[in-house]
Amino acid sequence: MRRHSPAALPRRLVETLAGQIVGHIPKADLDERDPDYIRENLPLLWLVSSLYFRGEVRGLGNIPEDGPVLLVGNHSGGNVTPDTMVFTLAFSTYFGVERPFFQLAHNLVLSAPGLGRLRKFGTVAASHENAERALSTGAALLVYPGGDREAHRPSWEGNHVNFARRKGWVRLAAAHDVPIVPVVAIGGQETALFLSRGEGLAKFLGLDRALRLKVLPISIAPPWGLNIGDFGGHLPLPAKITIEALPPVHLREEFGPEPDVDEVYDHVTGLMQDTLDGLAAERRFWVIG
């Protein structure tokens, strides 16, 4: 009689589910960004950002007035990332909705029910091709190199920038010769009690291969209580979100004609960690800010 490993059945289930989900992932199309739609939704974003998250965005003047720019942010808040919303509002009101602005997001986010409208805000699936296309068209592009690994870090690591040594963004900026503007956010990891990334569990179930998911996070969040996976999102706690855009880093000017990827990575993440430490020092209470 043939013996199955204990993980075989859950893995088969995951692969079947993954097949269904992957089939629903929309093809990224930069043309789906709709400035009128964004503009008409600015008041709603403003209400949520101002009243619920007491958002505060500093340093937008550091972002070049026009032309392509790579905005590199630290990612927080699990699958519900309030800092992205607060920053999108601030960017759109500061530079106007007419300035092309795209955000890279995990495939699962774009295929989640009800979140398809994010594409109208300029959110496209995270891929090298989409990033290249966005920068080639002269747009501002927001990337979160830490991705799901950083967004689901435990709450007690909330004030750490963790890009997991992912350096594709450095090569991207160097290839297109665009400035990098580090965008540092705090507060997102206080919108729930994040307990574990569940990396072992994700590996055990084969989520990495099936869905490019390296984590199966475990958190305590309303309205679910114990929340495993965060696939259905959660109601974020009203944590104060503070975001700071730092002065642009011009790779060729600061690191020579052939920038060393590791050197740039260490420099930018160091700057971001220092800023995050400063923002953390300003906070007095969890959630309240």
């Binding site: 008409e40 008041p43 403003w46 950002s49 965005v57 937008l60 601030a90 106007g96």
Partner: protein
Amino acid sequence: MRLETTVDIAAPPEAVWAFVSDPARVLHFMSGVTRWEVVSDQPTGCGARYRTLMRVGSAEVGSLIEVVEFAENSELAWTSLTGIDQRARWRLRARGLDGEHPHTHVAFRLSYGVAGAGVSGWIAERLSAPQVRQNLRRSLTQLKRQVEQEQLRSDAAGRREQKRTRASFSNL
């Protein structure tokens, strides 16, 4: 949302006009305004364009605006081209010129909103109104203080000049 704030300034309309029509001075008295940048070839007058931002709640909200009415010492109005919809107007009216205390009655009107935003737009306009209104009141208070100080300096300089003229005549 339509807001209006008024103030009486102890100075002639020309003195007030020098402030409200000069884009370089706007940031000195407009409260909450973080940007007032000339983006057209002509800095003032009909057709002049400015990029403006005001901090309201969690965002700096603004528009690219164009001056549509520019009647010296009297009316200055603009409307938005992009960004948040807005129309605004400075109205200056001379008062009490025949009496002992000539002054200028200054009114500033601002209408703003986002067309097509629906219920959320309606709510956001009303919830943002107290902060915008407070910014406008502070702006007019600061305008009054700056214009009146400038007027005092100007009057004092005029008196000194008169004294010098009289002294030079008596020395003849």
